[in-house]
Amino acid sequence: MRLLAFASLLVVLLVFAAAVATVVFHLRKYGVPGDKTQIILRIFITGSVVFFLATLIVFLNVPWDNLHIPTIAL
């Protein structure tokens, strides 16, 4: 279960890495010199790093071996 979850997480992280790279690439290459592009980039990258670390920390705290599938209480 843990292995499957880790593989899934890797796929998710790869997709997000591609999306983050896309945004950074566009803002760095096509931003108008002298405007607020650098500030926007810093905010975006900081947020992405925070979310990345949060994902890893939460993932490591999930009890993969003791996971219960929720059922509707009758």
Binding site: A19, Y30, P33, D35, F44, A54, T55, V58, L67, P70
Partner: protein, 180 residues
């Protein structure tokens, strides 16, 4: 990337009004709240013990969801922020970002401008002061249209002043327009 000629100077840079991005921003904010709503529903419907054991799993999904909203919001913001109208002392540049890896860059020499008109229709554009700018050109060059510009009257004046200055330089003895 905007590449200026050797002696070219940027006169003004204009982007679309913030109002254009407002709907996307509000939608993103509401979608960020979705995990809280779902968790409240699940707590009411499921056994609390089971919910507690799966809390970290739910939190993981929530964090991934929030990250997805964060990234997609910034992709949408990039599309908004990279739509630019740049007025230099030689030309008008219109950069239209359609989406990731999709953009149109149009360029118009100031001396080829024949007419600049603005359009403001509706209550919100009038109250928030935004509208569309149409630049009509000489010859067969396509006309420019830049939508949702804040204070279009001021932008029109900037373009017309740059146009007049370009024409004055063109008719000054010894001066000529740089070759493209």
């Amino acid at each position: 990337m905007i590449v200026l000629h050797d002696t070219e100077k940027v006169v003004a840079t204009h982007r679309k009004t913030w109002f254009v991005f407002l709907f996307t921003g509000i939608t993103s904010f509401l979608m960020m709240l979705a995990p809280f709503v779902l968790y409240a529903i699940m707590r009411a419907a499921l056994d609390p013990l089971i919910t507690a054991l799966s809390f970290h799993l739910l939190l993981l999904f929530a964090v991934i969801w929030w990250w997805g909203i964060w990234t997609s919001t910034f992709i949408a913001f990039s599309n908004y922020y990279l739509d630019v109208l740049v007025v230099t002392d030689e030309r008008v540049l219109h950069i239209d970002q359609h989406g990731p890896f999709s953009r149109t860059v149009s360029e118009l020499r100031l001396s080829r401008i024949q007419d600049v008109s603005i359009e403001q229709h509706g209550l919100l554009p009038t109250l928030i002061h935004f509208g569309d700018i149409h630049i009509q050109t000489a010859g067969e060059a396509p006309n420019f249209r830049f939508t949702s510009v804040p204070y279009p009257t001021n932008v029109k004046e900037v373009i017309m002043q740059a146009h007049r200055a370009a024409l004055a330089r063109r008719h000054t003895p010894g001066e000529h327009e740089p070759d493209v």
